[in-house]
Assembly symmetry: C2
Homo-oligomer: 536 residues x 2
């Protein structure tokens, strides 16, 4: 497949073409000024040529020079992933620990060559998909004498589409839209839409266990993986393409979530869907957050398996769906390629109403193929636009500290979990950001045995102290989540950011087991050190 045409922005989450204009940034600055109660100014974006970059410590052998380069712009755009701490540093022209070289292998054989070279020379390798990691998953670690980022952007083919089994084989470097494009005329779709969808890759999704479109039943990319192919310093590991198996521990489940620490994923067979034509949606209002959560529990436990089942707490619904700030909003959505969905929606709405939810009959949008449910107006439409329109660049550098954290917890512990996490967050936000910090919660995915809550916070940062402030808040968020029994991440991955908390969460012996695997597959410990496990 042709190389990607769009160039990644070095200071915002997306492409250069996604970067906000100067005018948009100024308008954002006015809004942020009002929000923070102090005047903020749009900082200038440094010119790439003005940025100081450490000299590359690596000499690239001529046999690799066709696809491994120490090109300045390339090193620069591969220094950071997409977390706000990284984007802020980039905006300020601070590029610590850039990769010494960036490889763009065009074939598996070129990938083998560059990995062998790195292994022989003990160069650190950072596997790189779309660079959208929000957990410091593609940063070069401090302790290395030389690092090569291996960008899979040229390994981005659609290898095969199997219409009968509804599955497709894709190279790992393919981006979301490029994967969907050839499926559309065949009436198929993967329907895995993480927020990073336009810029992230199949390999990245599988390596990080990304969460997608479906709020229930099949939530993670894990559920769509039929087989994987991965190159490790010890050789290739390719699993058999199977709809199901009971033969020993699943090899795919070792690859899924390995975050570039065990190998470089090059291909995956993924399960596809027929494009939905029947849809049914509704937004249900609740005067009380936990009553709304109870309704979610009842709906998911009824196993109706809606594609969408996401509730926003009053703060979130106020900020992003135009509600009054006192009302929670539950978004219910069903879809199917074969079966009208109106009855399913009515069952779910009946359950929601039994729990005190408010929705008028004419707010039930039922589309039996005529496009009705497409017109998502009102609160549901507003929320959808807020989610899709995410652009971390717009407020970058404006002094607004803003971040999210996500987890999962069983229903029996949920209410207490939420209270504890909010109380601890409120305390640290007040302490670090002062009064008026914003804190909200929504569910991104729900299971019969528990929700996956997603918290958002923001407030006024102290210019120059943003990183320390952020770290204090993040430490408290992770501690609150892990202490209260949650997971450090439901779908953002561990990376380097969540690593210390993950070390607390996972069984000690599982860490040891992973280490043993890493020593076997990556004996020199060159692969993405710092994420997941140490080689040691």
């Amino acid at each position: 497949m042709a190389a990607r045409e769009e160039r990644r922005s070095f200071w915002t989450w997306g492409y250069v073409s996604d970067e906000p204009t100067e005018t948009q940034r100024r308008e954002a600055a006015l809004r942020v000024s009002a929000r923070l109660g102090r005047e903020v100014h749009v900082p200038p974006i440094p010119a790439i040529e003005d940025i100081t970059l450490e000299k590359s410590r690596i000499e690239i052998p001529s046999r690799l020079s066709g696809f491994v380069r120490a090109d300045r712009a390339d090193r620069l755009t591969h220094t950071y992933g997409g977390h706000r701490t990284e984007l802020l540093a980039a905006l300020r022209g601070e590029f610590r620990n850039p990769p010494d070289a960036v490889a763009h292998p065009r074939t598996e054989s070129e990938l083998e060559s560059v990995l062998e070279w790195c292994d022989a020379n003990r160069h650190t390798v950072v596997p790189y998909g779309g660079g959208t990691s929000v957990v410091w998953g593609v940063k070069v670690p401090d302790a290395t004498d030389g690092a090569v980022t291996i960008d899979l952007d040229n390994l981005n083919a659609v290898c095969e589409i199997d219409d009968v089994s509804r599955a497709g084989k894709f190279q790992a470097g393919i981006l979301g839209p490029d994967l969907e494009a050839p499926l559309r005329p065949r009436g198929l779709t993967l329907r895995h839409f993480p927020q990073s969808f336009p810029w992230s890759t199949v390999g990245g999704w599988v390596a990080t266990r990304s969460g997608g479109h479906y709020a229930t039943n099949h939530t993670h990319i894990d559920d769509f993986v039929e087989s994987t192919r991965m190159l490790t310093p010890a050789g290739w590991m390719e699993t058999r393409r199977l709809p199901g198996s009971g033969a020993g521990p699943s090899p795919d489940r070792l690859v899924i979530g390995s975050e570039g620490a065990l190998g470089i994923i090059t291909e995956c067979w993924l399960r596809l869907q027929k494009r939905p034509t029947f849809r049914a949606n509704a937004g249900v209002r609740f005067s009380d957050w936990h009553t709304g959560c109870d309704a979610v529990r009842a709906i998911v436990q009824a196993k109706l398996w809606p594609a969408n089942l996401r509730i926003l707490d009053p703060a979130e619904a106020g900020a992003n769906a135009g509600l009054d700030g006192e009302t929670a909003l539950l978004i219910i959505g069903f879809e199917s390629a074969d079966i009208p969905q109106g009855e399913y929606l009515k069952h779910a709405v009946t359950i929601a109403r039994d729990h005190g939810g408010l929705v008028d009959d004419d707010e039930l949008l039922i589309d039996d193929g005529d496009g009705q449910a497409g017109r998502r107006g009102g609160a549901v439409g507003a929320w959808r636009n807020a989610f899709i329109g995410v652009n971390a660049g717009l407020t970058n550098g404006l002094g607004l500290m803003s971040d999210t954290f996500e987890t999962a917890i069983t229903w029996d512990r949920w209410q207490e979990f939420d209270s504890t996490v909010r109380a601890r967050m409120r305390r640290v936000l007040d302490e670090v950001l002062g009064d008026g910090a914003f804190l909200s919660c929504r569910f991104t995915h729900v299971y019969p045995d528990g929700p996956a809550p997603y918290y958002t916070f923001n407030g006024a940062a102290q210019p120059g102290a943003e990183n320390e402030q952020w770290q204090t808040i993040k430490d408290e968020a992770l501690a609150a989540v892990v202490d209260a029994g949650g997971t450090v991440t439901h779908h953002h991955a561990v990376g380097r950011m969540h690593r210390p908390a993950w070390d607390r969460q996972r069984p000690e012996l599982f860490g040891e087991a992973l280490k043993a695997v890493k020593r076997r597959l990556d004996p020199n410990g060159i692969l993405n050190p710092g994420v997941l496990v140490d080689a040691g």
Copy 2:
């Protein structure tokens, strides 16, 4: 919890109380005589006291003697699992490689003591749940100087039931019926009913990735595991109870399917269901097997997620559901605790009819809480009774060679897979068992991307040569399945029986990775050697 009251039969799959009577065996012999066209006689069942057993090679320290014994009957009933090769040997009084001692720890601390003792003395350990393995998973291997079978029968408590999240924590040694009993009054159920259900345990299900009640969507026990607790020679490994997580490779997925080679599972949190009250069932007839399979594909790809979606080929439907031997039977069943299921069934039946399936409207049994779908008459009821009434003891020793093998394959390859497997099987069956051998196929589980076919064969064995004959047929079955792209097992596990074929199926480096894990968790390689991976 109290120790189990029922005693395992040493020559049939089940308890002593499940053993067929002499009269039943004689009646079976008459039927088998007719089937094989030669007179067969019911062999006598040896008296336990007449069976020769090698002397135990192990001295049990007095501190362990309260729960570790070299009791003769105990060693004998723990020599074999439930495969027909094993049951036939047992019936003949041949007990090769009995365990030298059997442990029945009553607490985790007793389990620790016996495992430490075995590890220190390099005694082979065979973890043992219900002893129903059909893949030689609980046999003592040849190459050992002393083996201790650790039976989890006394670790069989219901630890906790969480009605809110619908989950329960169970000790690994609990049997199916003992798990279900306390759930019933609470309106809950696990609804995991492998054919071994009355005699198998939670620990066994998780260790072997057993397949259960649901034919679609959530098929393996894997899908119901919330967390696991496992003792290894290197210590305890307990995972966090979570409804979902994206934090690194899943630790539970390493435990699930580990077949006693990495540790001894002691506890699991499992997801539970509300007991269904709404049901809808139908049996649909197809004049052609592969047309029926296409209907199954269309139904499962419509994502209606029926609890039952199992098709029997004409041979299977003729032998076990009373059909004419020319007609395939598709059994469709929906169930729910909350939502009437009639409409779902009608959608599925419409799809089936679109594919040429025949079923009268009055054959649709729809139960909206009034018990209608309970009366499963006709072909569907006949098939259900044949499945539930399995008793490997009835024909044990009558000269009928009979076995099954199961796999999974994607839809695009299914027809060719089926043709190839049948052709190879037909050839080897003709060669080994002579004319008239029976071969049938059904689907036990189906996925949007492929079915899990289950083949049954039987025919006239040559008395005295049964094992060699069986091995020849089994080798061919495994080769056919693996050559044609399937998995060596969908839900029977690898054990020692499927091990050589699994070594061909799984990626070489995954085998290496598992070995590395085993070396870390079980450095002396004492745990269930021969299954899954070698310690080496």
